[in-house]
Amino acid sequence: MPKIVFIEPGGARREIDAPLGITLMEAARQNGVDGVVAQCGGACACATCHVYIDPEWLAKLEPPEDMETGMLENAWQPQGNSRLSCQIHITAEMDGMLVRVPERQG
């Protein structure tokens, strides 16, 4: 099972076992990673699962669709490596991926 490393808003480092087939948001939420709120549960309707993907890993992900990009543009402090974690499906290649959680959502 791939391990994902989250850096929580306070700086704490959390290593999570993320089963294949679920989303990055689900892996974070099930394990109670701080700051990944995910109110809409993965419908791409709230932008409260916003994360920053480590630039080294960003290019390895499927690019975002327009719906996600539109959400991110008006999220809290978007950056070039911003993604909605509900739109990223866990794959074996993500083992070790580093993900930073913003200080706040929306």
């Binding site: 679920i22 099930q30 809409c40 549960g41 008006n74």
Partner: protein, 404 residues
């Protein structure tokens, strides 16, 4: 010092309250009482990807069981709160256990409004609210099954889209002159009616159901105009009513929901309430509202938890809602009542557009069809009461936030 907090209701609000209470340092006894046997789970997928079978059941719960163990939450699931004695600060459960509390949070939710016409109690008439409701509906959603859906609101239309995707023959009967008439603009209704028609859903508006007929089981739905529709399965989605019996029987003020103040406090100072079951003030809109929304359940639960711990935090949010139908996403932010002008942005023919509701120059609400950018921009503009230029708003190409 608080030593015991009870939460009744294991939905979105109940789950969030647990999270906030523990995060904010509450160390006392914490008990979650829920009438459903499952760990707190997400409801929105029940009419969408869970119903269609695309989403497995193990993805529905908010948290693993271990989360509740680690956070020392005593679970009383599959166990109904039968009676509340507010004077004695006690809750009696259906299995006879009595629990005392210092603070009580009611997250009772809402329940499906029932049809009352003759034949309403026949077998094969289903409502969609909880996980237990899904199985029987799923079993009936077989290729070529004739599904009749009573009510063209969110639930009815999402169920219709799912049934159609699963190969059923689907008819939606709507009493009003257009679908989703209480929640969206006419052009949005028209767009979704066309989408459903293009996918082969038969939507009939101005159609009032007068009775259901069949031998033991609903076999046809008869309408006021004399038409009748053969059905293998009927799904009813005609709205929901707040669940308040426990609260009203205990003497708490209830009026279309449990009446709470901006701190989510009920008429009893030790009892708070959050989510679909509350009638609460909306500072942004200057009136009392009752909302059926994930966002409201989440935010009120957070506010209630903080106030139970003695922080004075008021609930002041612009609500939002969404619906998925076929490959369309409807995003709504704000409450549109009292608007004096509607402005369309973009062209429905392009499959991506939005409708603004203005009062003077202030944006009250926005409905976005496949347009997340306008939706996200509107959330800020509505909350901050930014004054807009209605003429610039109509220019669909101009970003919404520049229409000031």
């Amino acid at each position: 010092m608080l030593s015991t907090i009870l939460i009744i209701g294991g939905g979105q609000a109940g789950a969030q309250a647990i999270d906030t209470l523990r995060r904010e340092g509450y160390q006392g006894r914490l008990v979650l009482i829920g009438d459903e046997p499952e760990l707190p789970y997400q409801r929105p997928p029940l009419s969408k990807k869970y119903l269609s079978g695309e989403m497995a059941a193990d993805r529905l719960p908010f948290r693993h069981r271990s989360f509740y163990e680690e956070h020392r939450v005593e679970l009383r699931l599959g166990n109904r709160a039968a009676r509340l004695d507010a004077a004695a600060r006690q809750v009696e459960l259906a299995d006879g256990e009595t629990l005392s509390y210092d603070r009580l949070l009611l997250c009772l939710g809402a329940e499906s409004r029932r049809i009352t016409c003759p034949g309403a109690a026949l077998l094969g008439v289903h409502y969609l609210r909880g996980l237990a409701d899904v199985g029987p509906i799923q079993m009936g959603f077989k290729p070529r099954s004739r599904i009749v859906i009573i009510g063209g609101g969110y639930i009815g239309l999402e169920a219709a889209a799912t049934a159609r995707k699963m190969g059923c023959e689907v008819t939606v009967l709507e009493m009003a002159d257009r679908i989703m008439n209480r929640v969206v603009a006419p052009c949005v209704s028209r767009y979704f009616a066309q989408e459903h028609a293009a996918h082969g859903v038969n939507i009939l508006c101005d159609t009032r159901v007068v009775r259901l007929e069949g031998e033991g089981r609903a076999e046809r739905v008869v309408c006021a105009d004399g038409t009748s529709h053969e059905a293998d399965l009927v799904v009813v989605g005609i709205g929901a009513v707040a669940t308040t019996a426990l609260a009203s029987e205990a003497g708490l003020a209830c009026d279309n929901g449990i009446v709470v103040d901006e701190f989510c406090r009920s008429s009893d100072a030790a009892i708070f309430a959050a989510g679909d079951c509350t009638n609460h003030p909306s500072p942004r809109y200057g009136r009392r509202v009752r909302l059926e929304s994930v966002d409201n359940a989440f935010e009120q639960a957070k506010t209630a938890a903080l106030n139970m711990l003695g922080r004075e935090v008021a609930h002041d949010r612009v609500p939002w809602f969404w619906s998925d139908q076929f490959d369309n996403k409807l995003l709504i932010v704000g409450l549109s009542q009292d608007y004096d002008r509607q402005v369309l942005r973009g062209d429905p023919g392009s499959r991506s557009f939005s409708v603004c509701y203005l009062k003077g120059r202030e944006l009250l609400a926005l409905e976005a069809v496949n347009h997340s950018k306008d939706y996200m921009a509107a959330r800020k503009l509505i909350a901050e009461r930014v004054l807009l230029d209605p003429d610039k708003l109509g220019e669909g190409e101009r970003p919404l936030k520049e229409a000031v």
